[in-house]
């Protein structure tokens, strides 16, 4: 399993180096955080169309934005580093347009930005992406890596976990509460039915952030314009010591065969009547189906 995650033996070597002594420890109170962000299309209101090869969607006309959960992760990183005096580095693997997400992050307060920029990274699955991100992150100075728990386009919820494996760090996902301790962080993980699981995770670690943990700040247009003058570090596969077999389509363990629309189903019942009548019927349905006692 662990071998599978890291692909070839060469890949395993490259994921190493994530040993405790290689990473920055807190200088007293200081705390540095790496945040993995992704640019995704906004599809909430759009009529999403399948691409002709049915392996993707038509991106034209869709506004692009930071993945929602990543926005919360970024905010969490900014809040923590503001409290504990440190720096946020944002990292992304994406096309040229994803520079916009990095600039927005810098406008919000991220100190450094890194983009994994190489055709070799294209069409990688979650694990291939995690492998690439790990190679970029392992030599940075950080106490915690934050990621969004899920991306709104692919929805694999896998990159954060795979990243933790590659970096050989403990991880927790769907985190909605975070409290820093000494050499550890206490997190609350959101489970079903409103349950919260409390975990203590030793730092350094990878934390997958769930939406709602905070209220993301706003990045003003003037702020973003100022950030556009700042440098983004570009990393190619070669820069990171990665070979083509480690990343991109070649380094992937999964492959998209086909995307299709969900079939139009039956079974929607319209409750007729006045609001009072309809809500009475609805209450019956909820009781019947066991949603309320």
């Amino acid at each position: 399993m662990r071998g599978a995650l890291r692909g070839s033996g060469v890949g395993r070597e490259r994921c190493r180096g994530a040993w405790p002594d290689n990473r920055n420890r807190r200088n007293g109170e200081q705390m540095n955080i790496v945040v993995c962000v992704k640019q995704v299309p906004e599809t909430a209101e759009a009529d999403v169309k399948l691409a002709s090869d049915k392996k993707g969607i038509v991106m034209e006309g869709l506004p692009l934005q930071i993945n929602e959960a990543d926005n919360y992760a970024l905010e969490q990183a900014l809040l923590l580093t503001e409290e504990h005096d440190g720096d946020v580095t944002v990292v992304t693997l994406g096309p040229d347009s994803s520079d916009d997400v990095l600039r927005m992050s810098m406008a919000k307060g991220a100190a450094e930005a890194v983009r994994l920029n190489d055709p070799a990274f294209d069409r990688g699955d979650a694990v291939a992406t995690a492998r690439a991100l790990a190679a970029a992150i392992k030599d940075l100075e950080y106490d915690i890596v934050l990621t969004g728990c899920i991306s709104s386009d692919d929805g694999n919820t896998a990159v954060g976990v795979a990243l933790a494996e590659c970096l050989e760090l403990p991880h927790a996902t769907y985190v909605t509460q975070m409290e820093m301790g000494d050499g550890e962080v206490t997190v609350g993980r959101e489970l079903e039915g409103g349950l919260i699981e409390k975990l203590k995770v030793k730092t350094p670690c990878v934390i997958g952030i769930q939406t709602g943990i905070n209220e993301p700040r706003y990045a003003s247009i003037m702020g973003i314009a100022k950030a556009s003058k700042r440098e983004i570090a570009m990393k190619s596969a070669g820069d990171l010591g990665l070979e083509s077999g480690d990343v991109g389509a070649e380094g992937s363990r999964t492959r998209i065969e086909e995307l299709s629309y969900p079939p139009v189903g039956e079974g929607a019942e319209i409750l007729e009547g006045t609001p009072a009548e309809a809500s009475s019927k609805l209450a019956d349905v909820l009781r019947e189906k066991g949603f309320v006692s």
Partner: protein, 374 residues
């Protein structure tokens, strides 16, 4: 060196007379004390941004304070400045943040997709300019009439009025983007400038000579705040007045109702347009017009402007100002409370419901009233 608030907003003229606070509509029901904000600005004792002074988000930018100030101080500008300072630090109220991000992404503050912007016109025939097509008269329908179901009736009514009057015009279709009036008032200067640039280019590319707007807010910003824009900007009430005077618009159907008229702040107080809407209203046959006591310059702000469509008043107490307005209209015996602004329409209509006046009075837009008389 950062310009001090005192310098930037010329606060030294303030004599603390209190006319500003006395005239502030939200001062009636929130802790916003605009005289105190100026005082603290002068003495350097106050918070430097709206995060530290959350009641700054309550301002509707009705400009009462600025109009009333005997010393030419502009407290409204100071409040916008406090918002701007907070925005630049990323500290916007979440609803404001969402409206601003939406305007950047989709060209409207309502979180709706750009490709849905013309859905209001899906059942009617509305001209849309092709790329590079000349549009001497542009009907700028605006974000709120585009997406808000009730306000869509304003745009549709105007289309039928234009058609009947044989007006030659076009729209920009889904290429139309937010005018930015509220964006500026929420303090996002950068986004406002981006909108000005984009819109000015678009108008230029289509050779627009005259813009007719459905909202006084759009009219206000195009006319007064878009630098370098050299074309005629009219609110539809002014345009309809011209059409009536030229005999192109004839209103023949009787509307036997008692109506009163609510002066929108951005039409009245900001731009001194009080007579044209009244002239148009009086041209509707059968109408009995009754005037509010607080009318024209003294009109009571509905609390919809200045970005308030995206801000629930902070630390509020008491009756919404729009509810006072509705109760006054009911007391006048009006069947219709007519207004000429989509924000006024929406806030007054909500106020009818929350003040328990449903069934006693209807809020309609002047465009709808005119369309009834076609």
């Amino acid at each position: 060196m950062a310009v001090s608030l005192v310098e930037k907003y010329e606060l030294l003229g303030c004599i603390q007379c209190g006319r500003c606070t006395a005239g502030c509509p939200v001062g009636l029901r929130t802790y916003l004390n605009v005289r105190k904000v100026v005082y603290e600005g002068l003495t350097g004792t106050g918070p430097k941004d709206a995060k530290g002074r959350p009641e700054a988000w309550n301002c509707t930018t009705c400009s009462n304070c600025t109009e009333r100030c005997p010393k030419g101080v502009k407290p409204m500008e100071l409040l916008i400045g406090l918002r701007s300072a907070a925005i630049e630090k990323g500290k916007a109220l979440p609803t404001v943040r969402d409206a601003l991000e939406s305007t950047f992404k989709h060209g409207n503050p309502w979180g709706r997709g750009r490709d849905k912007r013309m859905e209001w016109a899906s059942e009617i025939s509305v001209p849309v300019a092709g790329e590079g097509e000349a549009v001497p008269t542009l009907f700028f329908y605006g974000c709120t009439p585009a997406y808000e179901t009730r306000a869509q009736d304003i745009a549709r009514s105007l289309v039928s009025v234009f058609e009947k009057a044989g007006v030659v015009y076009s729209t920009l279709g889904t290429a139309e983007s937010c005018c930015g009036n509220e964006i500026w008032r929420l303090g996002e200067q950068g986004l406002f400038e981006l909108l000005v640039e984009g819109n000015s280019e678009l108008f230029s590319a289509h050779g627009v000579e005259r813009i007719v707007t459905s909202s006084p807010h759009c009219m206000n910003t195009f006319k007064n705040e878009y630098e370098g824009l050299e074309l005629e900007v009219l609110h539809y009430s002014q345009f309809l007045k011209v059409l009536l005077d030229e005999g192109k618009l004839k209103l023949s159907k009787d509307v036997p109702k008692t109506v009163t008229y609510h002066d929108p702040c951005f039409l009245g107080k900001h731009n001194d347009i009080y007579d044209e809407p009244r002239d148009v209203l009086s041209a509707v046959p059968g109408v009995t017009f009754v005037e509010f006591d607080r009318s024209r310059e003294r009109a009571l702000c509905c609390e919809g402007g200045g970005g308030r469509m995206w801000v629930e008043a902070v630390e509020e107490r008491g009756e919404r100002v729009a509810e006072i307005r509705v109760n006054d209209a009911v007391a006048l015996g009006a069947d219709y409370l007519v207004t000429a602004c989509p924000f006024c329409l929406l806030t007054l209509e909500d106020a009818v419901k929350t003040s328990g006046n449903e069934g006693k009075i209807e809020i309609i837009d002047l465009a709808e009233l005119v369309a009834m008389a076609l």
